[in-house]
Amino acid sequence: MNDLTPTREQREAALEGMGCRRKRVEDIRFTQGKGNYVDDVKLPGMLHGDFVRSPHAHARVKAIHTEEALKVPGVLAVITAETLKTVNLAWMPTLAGDVQMVLADGKVLFQNQEVAFVVATDRYAADDGVSKVVVDYEPLPVLVDPFKAMDPDAPVLREDLAGKTSGAHGPRKHHNHIFEWTVGDKDLTDAAFKKADVTIKEMISYHRTHPSPLETCQCVCSFDKVKGELTIWGTFQAPHVIRTVVSLIAKLPEQKIHVIAPDIGGGFGNKVGAYPGYICAAVASIVTGKPVKWVEDRIENLTATAFARDYHMTTEIAATKDGKVTGLRVHVLADHGGFDACADPSKWPAGFFNIVTGSYDFPVAHLAVDGVYTNKAPGGVAYRCSFRVTEAAYCIERAMDILAQKLGMDPAELRLKNFIKPEQFPYHSALGWEYDSGDYHTAMRKMMESVDYAGLRKEQAEKRAAFKRGETREIMGIGIGFFTEIVGAGPSKNCDILGIAMFDSCEIRLHPTGAGIARMGTKSQGQGHETTWAQIIASEIGIPADNIMVEEGNTDTAPYGLGTYGSRSTPVAGAAIAMAARKIKAKAQMIAAYKLEVHEDDLEWDIDGFRVKGLPEKAMSMKDICWAAYNSVPPGMEPGLEAVSYYDPPNMTYPFGAYLCVMDIDVDTGVYKVRRFYALDDCGTRINPMIIEGQVHGGLTEAFAIAMGQEIRYDSEGNVVTGSFMDFFMPTAVETPHWETDYTVTPSPHHPIGAKGVGESPNVGGVPAFSNAVNDAFSFLGATHIQMPHDFWRNWQAAKNLGVVAA
């Protein structure tokens, strides 16, 4: 050792491992315009496809006239359902066990449904062709309101299901009914309500909205007739699943399908499922023998690709008079649109909505979900949340506030009184989950101290008095959102997609010079996997993160994985990384023992290599072990240093957090101002705090948008009235509040590195915090529940309904 020998701290820092605020390596290309997105893929002779879409929400398609379109210079083909029937692809299976039209087959079920696919030599000619296709429609009665879907005289939407009294998830009660899903003990729950001192009941709606990623859905399909191989570049959150689905429905051998997800500009659940554009581009490429590109525009994305939410949750809580909850009963009416194309694990038609007991110790609960068809676009995807978890968190967090109001208790106090206690973990919930770990009281109290909760309530009381005296026209709301997420789908015992267990995978290959590559079954859409996955490896095996290249998205080279959504990457793939790294480390230890001429058990791990116990000078770095792995392994050992792990998680992980929003609302205009937003997240072990904060900022911004105005709204004729960013609220930096972040750390006991996943927590916890702030602001005027979204005019409407603005 000399002065130049790095200290332990320097060696640790050089790794940039877990806990380091490592700068995102992918941003070097993204900030210089050097990303490679699907629309950057340009192949020789590539054709372009575009859709003719239905102006009607419900209509019979009498005829499609393509003659004039085919005369447009550059137009080569117009594909309709009749064309697709020749290859048995007019309909496709959905992830939810339903089937969906690829192109209108006899009728259309929602506005902007795909009717015909025009293929041309360039995008302009394709659109010129689209404008020349003439479709004869016979309008049919339109069903927009899900509450009318099961009326006896409701229009029949799905004629293809005539006579089918059961679907993928059990019996159907009506021609527009999809499934009923029940969980929990009904009798015990009913009994708890009979005995209750206090009950509340409210229909809490979580309106239809949309993930609207910056980059819309798109693909390039290229069929090589000679090799019989199909290559698809696409915006896929789950490339391997897409490959398997294409193989199954197109009857192509899976090894002859190459799915490549290049850089992706945001997914938020929108890019999990399969869309008609993918099928049509693939068929068009097979028919023409040329590559075909399909890129949807913003209006198409908002109006036709997968929406989110549209859950109408009738919620009841039973409690004692001193505020101990004794039962929860929820009935959900779920509007799925024209086809059931939810992207949930196959056995979970309502996702993990049974996390609806939230962070509270409900002794009994019962949940029933009815899914119905309406004349709206299909979807129901997990928009920046685990499956239906934002809906569940909103439901219970709103209901707890309503209960607090009825009891005359402070909502924070009510929560503290009913939280699952630290000693109750692992906690078995009344609706069937095993919560892995949590310390809710600590998180809640830290939040309350950080924001001076008592001071805020005092200020609010003063402002309310001033309002009543007529001295101000502004009201103040304090909204708490305390959420428990359930992420990391999931254990093979209860999670699969089309029969494929929801494991994930990692393959690590180290090179002789102490560098390496890690390939994953996940796919980043902005999460920063290239940065964080390398950090896990760095901490596990002592190779600097900068020396590890992370590669995802190419099904030919990546190990099979189920992809990135539902905050599953860190809980599942993050575990696979650690397990693969540990296999490498075990082999490295044998090599080091051989080279250092000691027994393996005499070695101990020390930051970036092994050293002999009691002889710290006698050590071998991982860098040197890598070299040795390629030239002098112990006799009988295979050379090389690589490992692969497929990780089937034993349980989900349960991140949680305590959020608080302070909002002022001008009752005369309904204009609100978010004065303060504090977000404490506990996602277990923190891999990269900077990326966590970025994730929280982004998720809160989406939560803000959803709660305060973002919606997909239909008029009574089924026309989408929010089909562009003019009317679909997408906040800019100007509207976005300032975010304060904080954290506690409660590691997951079953995860190899104790990490839980965080990307979606802010959306799950943010929406109830905003909505509770609005509701809290109005509560002293007599409001119990005001539906989202809380945009300006609706706030004014609420004030007017409460009699505080003159008509």
Binding site: D127, S131, I299, T669, V671, G709, T732, D791, F792, W796
Partner: protein, 287 residues
């Protein structure tokens, strides 16, 4: 979101532009900043066969003071208005309003001529032009004419522009020194049109309103001059009763559509609030 085919023309003079318009007829549209026309073309709601781009005409740009008037070339962008000291000193309400139009990217391209000539009730500048009593210079095959802004707007997208005419300039009388002004615009987010907006230009004397004009944006098919509302405050100290009277007089002439910004009832209500707030802020600025 892909426009249909069109031919592109870039004349170098107003004369050439007018000749092109005359020759090409109904199939031609002049192109200024393009912020209204291009989105319509991308949606194929407009499919002009010819676009006549006015950016090549040097004489259509610029701001100059001509005695007690300010003349602004039609192709002057919102960003250029914001950069102009002459505008800032003589017509500060134009600065306040331009800053509320869309976002910086739009303002670099969007022009005052396009904003006022298109007849879009959502545009902000037309209401100001009513308040300031501006006149527009229209040039066509039969020569040039001046039309007061107050007589220009006939309905949504219907104006006094005759076929073949181009709006080439705006002339605004400079309001008296010490005038108070305000443009209050309620919008959902940056880039949005007004849910309701009100512009006020007034003068005060001895604590009372001496003169006042009020105009309204996006509360009718056309921008509105709210004369009754203005009369309701002249001679008052802008006490509560006067403010309410002005708001109610303004509300009486509003006929907004119900849209995603809110039902008509809401837009009328906040329209009155915008009037009251603009009056108060204008008065606080008057010297």
């Amino acid at each position: 979101m892909i426009p249909g085919p069109f031919d592109y023309h870039r004349p170098a003079s107003v004369g050439d532009a007018i000749k092109l318009l005359a020759d090409l007829g109904d199939e031609a549209r002049p192109l200024a900043g393009g912020h209204s026309l291009l989105p319509m073309m991308k949606l194929r709601l407009a499919t002009p066969a010819h676009l006549i781009d006015l950016h090549g005409i040097a004489g259509l740009k610029g701001i100059c003071r001509e005695g007690d008037r300010i003349a602004i070339g039609a192709m002057t962008t919102q960003a250029e208005l914001l950069a102009s000291n002459d505008i800032g000193e003589a017509l500060p309400i134009l600065h306040e309003t331009a800053l509320l139009i869309a976002d910086p990217q739009v303002r670099y391209r969007g022009t005052i001529g396009g904003n006022v000539a298109n007849g879009d009730p959502g545009n902000d500048m037309p209401a100001l032009m009513l308040a300031l009593d501006a006149t527009y210079r229209l040039e066509g095959p039969n020569g040039a004419r001046e039309v007061p802004a107050r007589e220009f707007y006939q309905g949504a997208y219907f104006t006094a522009l005759e076929p073949g005419e181009i709006l080439t300039g705006v002339s605004i009388p400079v309001p008296p020194a010490g005038h108070g002004y305000a443009y209050e615009k309620l919008k959902r987010k940056v880039g949005d049109y007004a849910t309701a907006a009100a512009g006020v230009v007034l003068t005060m004397a001895a604590g009372k309103v001496a003169s006042c004009v009020i105009s309204l944006t996006n509360l009718h098919e056309t921008p509105l001059l709210a004369s009754d509302a203005a009369n309701a405050v002249i001679g008052t100290t802008l006490d509560d009763a006067a403010l309410k009277a002005a708001a109610n007089a303004a509300r009486a002439i509003m006929q907004p559509a119900s849209d995603a910004r809110g039902p008509a009832e809401y837009r009328i209500h906040v329209g009155g609030i915008m009037v009251m707030r603009a009056l108060q802020r204008a008065a606080s600025r008057a010297k």
